[in-house]
Amino acid sequence: MTFGALGLVALGIYLGFLVVVSEVARRARLDQTPADHFLAARHLGTFVLLLTLYATAYSGNSLLGYPGEAYRRGFSWIMATGFMMSIVVVFHALVPRLRPIAIRERFVTPGDWIRHRFGGEAAEGMLRKVIGALMVLALANFLLAQLVAMGHVAREVTSGAIPFAAGVVGLAAVILFYETRGGMRAVAWTDAAQGILMLVGLAVLLGWLLADGGGFAATTLRIAEMRPDAVAVPDTVERTNWASTIVLLGLASVLYPQAIQRVFAARSAGSLRRALALMSFMPLTTTLVVTLIGLAAIPRFEALGVVEADTVMPRLLGALAEEGPGARAMAIAVFIGALAAIMSTADSVLLSLGSLIAVDLFDRPSGDPATTRFGKRAAAFVMAGAAVLALAPRLTLWRLIELKMELLIQCVPAFLLALHWRRLGAAGCLAGAVVGTAIAAAGTLFGMKRLGGVHVGVIGLAANLAVAVLWSWWRPPVQAGADASAR
């Protein structure tokens, strides 16, 4: 494929745009408090909120990992549309209860909820640190996946002029720069632009693929000839895995710290409600489209390796570029859209990482400007570590997502159960999180990803919930000094 100088110029223009936005956002800040830097002073309206939620949820994983997984698994990957939508469904259990408390109590990080809900209990501090550590680990993993995806895209869009390693390091530096300068405003504004680019780009690519392949029916028949298993009705294990993945992604994704912080950052409850209503349709315009793109790659590229399959999207864009100058420009636009989506997720993750490490893990006061500076330095440190690991990717993007979700899902009792069950105590919640995480970690260490199609993280969550509930029944928490309305 040959994107040549045009790819380099487009990349340069895009990165220049990001730098300008960060500077404008920096000038728009009201003060230097963590609430202003990490939550844009809680002023995000429906449109920006929708696009920032969208660009945050749909990332390098969606644009590179999901087509790769559709290529590997075949049509059963249609499950991805369901599990991405399940996130907006599960938000019903979180947002109506958490949002009013978050606004009243001026929460900045997810740990503020733990402090509020379990305040006065002896195990509260340890629970907050364990939950914070699980979230930081999950986010660091998430960041790693974005960096790997960024390296792939930068190399492809410049036809190798920017090597994988330089793409990872260079783009990580750009993200660090604009996130540090502009905070949540820069992140949300660039997310909005990146979200639009991504939507348009994917529509163009799918349209070309279907036109070139003779439509859905012709493409499906060709896939059926080459790989009958990709078209056949999934077996019981695959169907169980489908249900397990919906549970895993639906429950764990609502606990993305960056998603929770967007719930805190919304200008009003009405803005949030409208943004979430519109978000319900985004899996149909994005996940379904990238799944069909990955499937359309099956007849084009035979027998790609497991990790290599994550490059089907760049390969397809390369094929599109060979159709002529106009098609090449469109392919570059899609590439930049993909890069935009990846960078927008990485920047949101980085922003959340900074606040989580500073406030939840190191107990820095959430109203102090020094906390903002500490958070920025901590995020830079994690970014540097993730960039080093990203230089030698060993796992598929989808496996990285699963690992992250298996950790995050262990935080479910501390949020979803704690919001709905007054009797839940910090000690029970802590014991459950430790047991659930141990099961998920042991499964990963011993190479047991699933049991009969059920993710080991979901099995860990079942044990986690059982321990949390039984412990809280056996030894009810001493409710000293906490807000009864939250219990």
Partner: protein, 66 residues
């Protein structure tokens, strides 16, 4: 009403997974896609509509005036 919509979403989720078919069976083409895939997509479209309606009916206590 909101609760009914959410129950509808849950039912569509159950129906989206092809429990009703024998594993490994060869599908027919519906709208150019394997039949069980077309059913799953239809379920997810329905779930999106019901879920969006449920969000618009969601009361968030202490809602601030806009």
């Amino acid at each position: 009403m909101r609760r009914l919509l959410l129950i509808g979403v849950a039912v569509l989720y159950v129906l989206s997974i092809p429990w009703y078919r024998t594993g490994g069976a060869e599908p027919e083409l519906w709208l150019g896609l394997p039949d069980w895939v077309t059913v799953a997509i239809a379920c997810y479209v329905g779930a999106a509509v019901l879920n969006a309606a449920a969000w618009l009916l969601t009361d968030i206590p202490g809602e601030d005036p806009e």
